[in-house]
Amino acid sequence: MRVKAQMAMVMNLDKCIGCHTCTVTCKQVWTNRPGTEYVYFNNVETKPGIGYPKRYEDQEQWHGGWTLDKKGRLQLKAGGRLKKLLSIFYNPDLPSIDDYGEPWTYDYQKLIEAPLGTQNPSAHSISALSGRDMDMKWGGNWDDDLAGATEHALHDPNLSNIEQHVQMEFEQAFMFYLPRICEHCLNPSCVASCPSGAMYKRDEDGIVLVDQDRCRGWRFCVSGCPYKKVYFNHRTGKAEKCTLCAPRIEVGQPTVCSETCVGRLRYLGLILYDADKVLEAAATPDPHDLYEAQLEVMLDPEDPEVAAEAARQGIADDWMEAARRSPTYALAKKHKVALPLHPEYRTMPMVWYIPPLSPVADIVHAAGYDEADPDRVFATIDSLRIPIEYLANLFTAGDVEPVRRVLRKLAAIRATMRAEQLGLEPNDELGRAVDTDPTDLHDLYRLLAIAKYEDRYVIPMAHAEDAGRLLSQHEQMFCSLDTEGGPGMGGAGPVSEEPNTFRGDDGRVHFNLLGWDGASTSPHLFPEAGGS
């Protein structure tokens, strides 16, 4: 058993209102630079829809992720190492910028400089790639809120095998939002595809990162990721991706997209897993079993054996404590209400989703829904507005059973809590029917409905004292991604009272080495005698 910790995210899709706040704040922090205009580390897509970039979910077209060869061994879908090296001059699976949407800005100067006249001047669109006038034809959210759905939505790869049930007429249409970030996979195909070895999975917390200094721009990570969450910076010629806001996670803060989510639908917490079992699980023959296989890889932090092994392998006590309190572990493994996105890509994704239920209940009411009667509650799950097959195509490789189970559980919580609130007789039948005892049901209710900041984000700080054989990242004055021209934002940290010191995000005072003459005093540069 090789115990590793993974910072994982769960999103509760029921609560997503599609406001794009996460997208905007992430963009402002990480990709507001030339070269990344078209890049959204976080994007929110309307489902059904073709996604960003176009039809990225169709791996027969893009060859992202892993597949099994004839002997059942795990292989990159785009082909082996030699094939990659030989096609390095032209990557046959790379999306073009037009699949994402050519980035543009506007000729605002025109508004100011236009000569006086009767017509209002207008600013027209200019390509951010070439600086020339352009017509906008596609962009990251072109099909937001089912815009142009009659034309585009049926090209959604998740609809391919259920097209006959799906109506695109206004009255019968369904939709929900799917916020997406990098999955920080346990078996990342982007890392495996990078010929330079510039991409890596961070040992301590599983965050998948690109070393900007080692990337040589070979582009295979971009095509290797089935979620298309590695992007090519067209100005620097290097790959960039969601960092899970690593500099924030290191100091115990939630990611920007989580922090700013108005629906408070994101959860962050550690999940322990057995690194020795990952490849075996990813090679599970039947795609329907991949979801279960991934659950199997996760380790129970309450299990004394796991705890002992983790301690032996150097996982600190506060991390174990955080793993025990982890909301993501609770949602994914303990209560099994969160599901992975496209497990069939075999990358073992670690951003999980609680499937949406809301659009169901309304129709259901009309159909004689009665929360006192489990049969009535559950029967309706199959007549949801969002076809259960569609959700299954997203979350369980097409296996409807796990999705049905989750939706039933959610419906049971809702019915039970509603009864309690209204002072009606709670119906224990409901909980029993979904194999959940009343305590668990209430736990889950609390986690889903009223969890506070500290319950939604359980993020232990990085251990600088042993990781910091040299100078640890979060003890620097800068964000650890803040190399010049890199994805950081630049600028100094907050200032503090003593000269040449500042108070870090971790709440401690640090000495600012920048501009130090090497001779004058340097308070807080080294730990004070007797510990801090």
């Binding site: 190492r81 001059f89 910028i97 600086g131 999975k201 721009g217 650890s480 190399t483």
Partner: protein, 249 residues
Amino acid sequence: MTGASGGEVFWWVAVPYFALGVFVLGHIWRWRYDQYGWTSRSTQLQEQTTLKWGSPIFHYATFAAIGGHVLGILIPASFTNFIGIPDHVYHKFAAIAGTVAAVLVIVGVVILAGRRLTIPRVRATTSPVDWLALVLLGIIIVTGIIPTIWNMFGSAYDYRNTVSPWFRGLFTGHPDVAAVSTAPTIYQVHAIAAWAIWMVWPFTRLVHAWSYPLWYLVRPYVVYRSRVPNRLNEPGTSGRRWRRVGTRF
């Protein structure tokens, strides 16, 4: 080296050694100061339909051409004779293989240069030093191809006994200036342009050639790394200093 005029020494001794010096020092400098700018600067994201043909053709044909140079310049004629390849066989092979490679290099470079010139998205990513490298490459290719094709139609000029010994001599410390200075002008221009491109090499995207990731064939698929601090910049430099070279942005 007796009897060589000052001009000859300049072109056939000073320029090559200077270029080699710039080549080596330039690479060391760039490697240390500009890891961030060290990239192939691919434009496949912007444009794919012509790149699909142009890039593989150009790169593979260039490999063939480089192989031909190794054969023709680094390996002495006496060696091929020794292992039993008569001169006329060698020349026939060199002319035919060389012409095929040459034609493909031309096709590739025409596609790539045409693309760079005419497609605004790609053009916008091209820095002045890229244009310089492209022009030098053009000169090298044209002056390299004309004699190759010429040689196919009879009257072969025997560069293996003039240009090649001079080139090898540069590395043993005894460049044969007399031999190279009697070579036809077209060979001389070819050689000088080649030295020029060695000089600009470290300052362009051409550095990506040294990063061809052969290591990928043997390393484990998933790479794990521990959290480490940023490498600090060398005192007195900013990490970006070299970035402008080779990238306009």
